[in-house]
Point group: C2
Chain length 336, copies 2
Amino acid sequence: MQNMITVAVDAMGGDNAPGEIIKGAVLAVQERKDIKVVLTGDEDIIRKELGSYDYDKERLQVVHAPEIITNCEAPVLAIRRKKNSSIVVALQMVKNKEADAFVSAGSTGAVLAGGQLIVGRINGVERPPLAPLIPTMNGVSLLSACGANVDARSSHLVQFARMGSIYMENILGIKNPRVAIVNIGAEEEKGNLLVKETFPLLKSCNDINFIGSIEAREIPNGAADVIVCEAFVGNVILKLYEGLGTALVKKIKTGLMSTTKSKIGALLCKTALKETMKDFDATKYGGAPLLGLNGLVVKTHGNAKSNEVYNSILQCVTFTEQNINDKIRNNLNKNE
Amino acid sequence: MQNMITVAVDAMGGDNAPGEIIKGAVLAVQERKDIKVVLTGDEDIIRKELGSYDYDKERLQVVHAPEIITNCEAPVLAIRRKKNSSIVVALQMVKNKEADAFVSAGSTGAVLAGGQLIVGRINGVERPPLAPLIPTMNGVSLLSACGANVDARSSHLVQFARMGSIYMENILGIKNPRVAIVNIGAEEEKGNLLVKETFPLLKSCNDINFIGSIEAREIPNGAADVIVCEAFVGNVILKLYEGLGTALVKKIKTGLMSTTKSKIGALLCKTALKETMKDFDATKYGGAPLLGLNGLVVKTHGNAKSNEVYNSILQCVTFTEQNINDKIRNNLNKNE
């Protein structure tokens, strides 16, 4: 018999909670017999929503957590004060090994702070990177790191590279993933102080396939599988990716709707265009993992729909089955 | 009689030199009677190229500069050693007030290093920002700064904001331009050390319209007119803008060509799409100025065509006519 993997899901986090979150959780339990989901949040609200679905009640449970942490609250303070929030209750389950992983579309700050404060880091991990997948012309790359945990040291970046590499090899199945550091030119002598300090360290790592610097221009071309950077820079990359993508698509739509002739043309192109643009959507791979914790914490987009929640739950299953954390533990023990 | 403005142009720099560069220079002289252009580079090559054009020989001259600085050379060393290069000869003209400005599509590093070493900074300017214009949904924003001059201090960023503001007000005609600092969230307490240090300084500047933080997601929406950041981050923004734009357009073309139906649709949309996408092209405003020098140095794209060269020459004229450098000088004297 296969092992059952338990994923705690924050039913109250995100713009489309609880409806889309619960829909995604139900879908995961319906589709896969090896998954157990625990929804945390206001029990009455969740039960009411669940009423419209048919599912295995043994494998989809509810744990009451009446408090909600909002995006406006200071993350660390909120984690400390709101012990009965959907986020804290779920993270406690991961800490106590009652759950293998946690998925939330709620406050990024609270999820990241809580992951570190409650679940805790793997021994030897200096800083856990939030590592989202970003779409490229030929697939997807891992951006390690991105988030609120800025002003990293070079030793952090080396760990971001190692953990990112393990993730891409085992979760995405990319053999010997190409690791590159974000820089302002391809030459080794270019860069800011942090990059200049990190470059030779990455070069001397025998356990990763370091290919050197990557200019931001090359990221959308999929020029590396793991993109290493300090979280402030990673945040700029991720947000600009989203913002520019949306802006260009809006611009193109305006163009298509601008003349009668183009409107007819647009009708004819619509299906084909939609199909191609699907490739440029990273949500099908799930959310962004916070790597290096004693468990797994996955942050999905604030506007996540059921499909992204479903994919994030599946991502947790692969992560657990592949023993990613043991691999990270072994790698760090061997190298540090 | 109006004043004649002299622009030195590097005839040998860029992927399309000398053909497109010379074409752009001829165009500028043909279109405007108040412009004089001095082309620097190999005289024989330039004269041969000029042979096919009709132009006012008084206002389009050639200064022989047989050496060429390539992209592969270390910038500072190349500037020091190649005294007879098209870049150094032109910069010397700006220094000696024989030219008001310099335009080059050549090595960015050499142009920036040479601008500072030869032309020199305005008294009080701590660091000259390279400030390209980037396209947005409703026009264009100035990215101050972007380039190789990384690891800035907060006082540099304040000057980037001031100079950028003067540029946008006087060159683009945007009254009271909105200035924002690139950050990972909208709240004042967010950011890395540099941003946290710079934020209150910008807030206390009475001479600029500081509107707070801008997330990278909002840049394409034109949420600020002057986008202040450290040059490493600015470089990532600029390069990702270019790379992602190209990648998405390529993806859309693939989509349009994927079925017979979509191919017919594409034919009908083509003109309208092209027209709309023109808005998303910042080269019509010219190149990126290096602000804060005793003169003006403009870096155009390496792949600049005649039209961008032409627009860059016009940009130099407006810059000189508007006495931007006097305005920068007065502003710094008043505030520091």
